[in-house]
Symmetry: none
Subunit: 245 residues, 2 copies
DNA sequence: TAAGTGTTGTAACAGAACGTTACAATTCGT
DNA sequence: ACGAATTGTAACGTTCTGTTACAACACTTA
């Protein structure tokens, strides 16, 4: 993957660092992570990064000052991660040369969207998946319209899905024939970690099956992989254009 | 940049001076800053300014008196910056020849908007960015005219929107397929922060849906993302020219 | 095969998030 | 300063989602 954007995460919170790294990797980025400003500049000497996710609140040198130094050093796009949410703080951040900011606690997917937007804006490196992400999926006559967030069955009638169900199905459709663990699914649909005895995905799968499986007791599309997770078993064709007609 | 408007900031507060200067520069203006009236008139001898942002409360000569002298000296537009907010002060300021007026603490973007408005009004120099922003958006046959602040449905008939509804729709149209949090929406449409249990965006969304969704109960354009915010689900084309016809 | 162990399916519940209405507060134009 | 229009707040009903509990199922081992 020579053309994969390389992202550097600078955050002192280990939890955020690792989970964010995994999330971004899962979305096609190359990711490195550091815990402080010193390590950040070290890392930057060894590799070229396409974007930096910088926590504004870190021990040692202040994030804002780091941001200023970054901007002074070059033109690497920066997305600020901050707990501050007042107006002035935001504007100060953007003034210092950050290309975007997001406040904690944040939805990883939103950060992902902003990273993509910044990369698109700065333009030299295409964000992965973004263009590649199809506008629709089709499987066994079923049609999933990403833009409209709708699902039609082979007869062409709309099947009502809740937002969560839609996200889940979308994730399955995007990874056909792949066993997805509950962790992954939770991560990809909700952007959060699973607790020890988290059964929410199971329940969501059950609810989804009820709507798309002819016989939910004998599922054809979403198969269970015992002690593994679930697989979407269908030939999926991805359309890059919106649903015609 | 020969055609870039040149703005002079006169404020004794260094913090405001620098951060405002950077903000305006970031928005395409050429900016100079001075700390008192004497320096202001000095600067004006050396350069021609298209607009002056003048703090009314400065050590030395009073801002109002400066404003009077400015007006006497020529026709440079002035935007007053002040902590005073009573009606009479406002009248006095405007009577003295200020073209607009904003109270501290202020949202920089609001000042930006006022500066643009004044420059547009005085007319000789086009404000930057203003032109670059799309003058219209079109989605699914609907047409949003930014300049006229009007909305036409696919049949071409005008749909009456309040200012707030229009701003909201404009924000959505400018960020299609992006989940926008209530915070962001409030920020972008009103320039303010959300309180803990702020439902105003929900209500505004509801009102907007009533006007643009065929079935508000099953919205097609503005979809809800539970515990996330809202997404505008439509292919949007931005037009750089005003709506023809 | 039967018991035992761990895993999954799903019903039921509870809490949270959302939509909408009515009304209060604010703003705006005159 | 007044009235009209717009916007915010509060309240209530509805929908969605996570949790829990338990039954059903699948694998293992005897």
């Amino acid at each position: 993957m020579p053309n994969t954007p390389h992202i550097l995460i600078a955050d002192d919170d280990r939890q955020i660092r690792t989970s964010l790294a995994r999330f971004l990797e899962g979305n096609g980025f190359r990711v490195s992570a550091v815990a402080d400003g010193v390590a950040m500049f070290q890392a930057m000497e060894n590799s070229r990064f396409d974007l930096i996710v910088l926590d504004i609140m870190m021990p040692g040198e202040n994030g804002l000052s780091l941001c200023r130094r970054l901007r002074a050093a070059g033109k690497v796009p920066v997305v600020l991660l901050t707990a501050l949410s007042t107006h002035t703080d935001r504007i100060v951040g953007l003034e210092l040369g950050a290309d975007d900011y997001i406040c904690k606690p944040f939805d990883p997917r939103e950060l992902l969207a902003r990273i993509r937007a910044v990369l698109r804006r700065t333009g030299d490196t295409p964000a992965p998946e973004e263009r590649a992400r199809p506008a629709s999926y089709e499987f066994e006559g079923w049609r999933l319209d990403v833009l409209r967030r709708t699902l039609r069955n082979p007869e062409g009638t709309l099947v009502e899905l809740t937002a969560g169900e839609f996200d889940l199905l979308l994730t399955f459709a995007g990874h056909p024939q792949h066993v997805l663990t509950r962790d992954q699914l939770l991560d990809m649909t909700r952007g959060r970690e699973a607790n020890v005895f988290d059964r929410s995905i199971d329940v969501q799968v059950s609810r989804l099956r009820r709507k798309i499986e002819a016989d939910p007791q004998a599922p054809v599309f979403i198969k269970t992989v015992r002690s593994g997770g679930y697989v979407f078993c269908a030939g999926v064709v991805a359309g890059s254009q919106g649903a015609p007609g």
